[in-house]
Amino acid sequence: MMTDLNKALIEYCLRIADNSLIHAQRISEWTGHGPILEEDIAMSNMALDLIGQSRGFYTYAAQLEGNGKTEDIYAFHRGEREFRNKLMVELPDNKDFGFTMMKLFLNGCFDYLMFRDLMKSTDETISGLAAKSIKEVTYHVRHSGEWVVRLGDGTAESHQRIQNSLNELWSFTNELFEQDSIDELLISNGIAFDKESVRNEWTKMVTEIFAKATLSIPENTTYFASGGLKGVHSEHFGFLLAEMQYLPRMYPDAVW
């Protein structure tokens, strides 16, 4: 009989893994379409890091759940309502490089703080995966942050476009900090971290870069998107999964 704590831990791992995997899937769409070769390579590299991070958390969840579960089952044989990624990372980029960079930056700053705090987790596997992932995320934030500054403090056109990206994505930032009873149970056991406790630090981080980029955080945002924690996604998500899961569903015996 599985304990409530173990059930919560599995759910927690899936949330982190889903977010990284779906983010990676979106970023990987740039492969072969980057504005310049170096950025094309950068996107593939960052996607690869994120896929690697998700695999670590999926594998741990599979080990906890047992029952023949594998990382592939989580990634390829679950439907929309079972995925726990945040809505921001599933949004289509519509070939706007600045939009992708802004998304990488906003989510990356959160991931950086998350992994920094999870390194102190009482769960050895979680703290190990966090210590591994934080180095990669740090590098991604440096890269995307530089682009946010370059585009924001660039031409009138690049400034306007990245400001528009920020305006659009800002409604999706509140979800980064959403938590529920799963988090609470794990926080009380020293396994998880309190997302609310890093909100100010996150705001300080992004504000610092936006000041350099001459960008402003939209004021009077009245609507904040929500739903990832409950598996309620945007209209874009089913199409993303259809593409990502096509091969293993079409050829069920295919293996890596």
Partner: protein
Amino acid sequence: MVTLDVREIWDLLNSIPDPEVPAISIVELGVVRDVRLTDSNVQVDITPTYSGCPALKSMEEQIRAKLLLVGLTPLIKTIYKPAWTTDWMSDETKEKLRAYGIAPPDKISFENLHPFANNDKGPVACPFCSSTDTSLTSRFGSTACKALHFCNACCQPFEQFKCH
């Protein structure tokens, strides 16, 4: 029947080149973390360089193949703690990288650990002509562990093993 001791197994693994940077071995790279003899077999712990490193699988297969040849069926385990770092490379290993044409990684410092830290370490020395008149072309290179630079002195692009 195990006929090799732990030291000999380490030596054997040290003969396996990194599939992406064959100038150094997987032991020198720091991927092999531990070798333990059990009653009837051997357990090898490995750790990925980057979370998504596609070469890890190939390294695992090469370890298995190498040990099968001497009659061992290893149990290979991937571990994440402690997280891999380029600081595990010896000076000798870094020199091998340089001689191969890849600028070796520096020691880890504060700017590697915070995304907004000022990176004022200066340019990376060219592995071909040693000039420091170089510039960063791209933070990301042909593999997860490398960045691209250009040497203005000898007009050569070169790769740097990222400090990680």
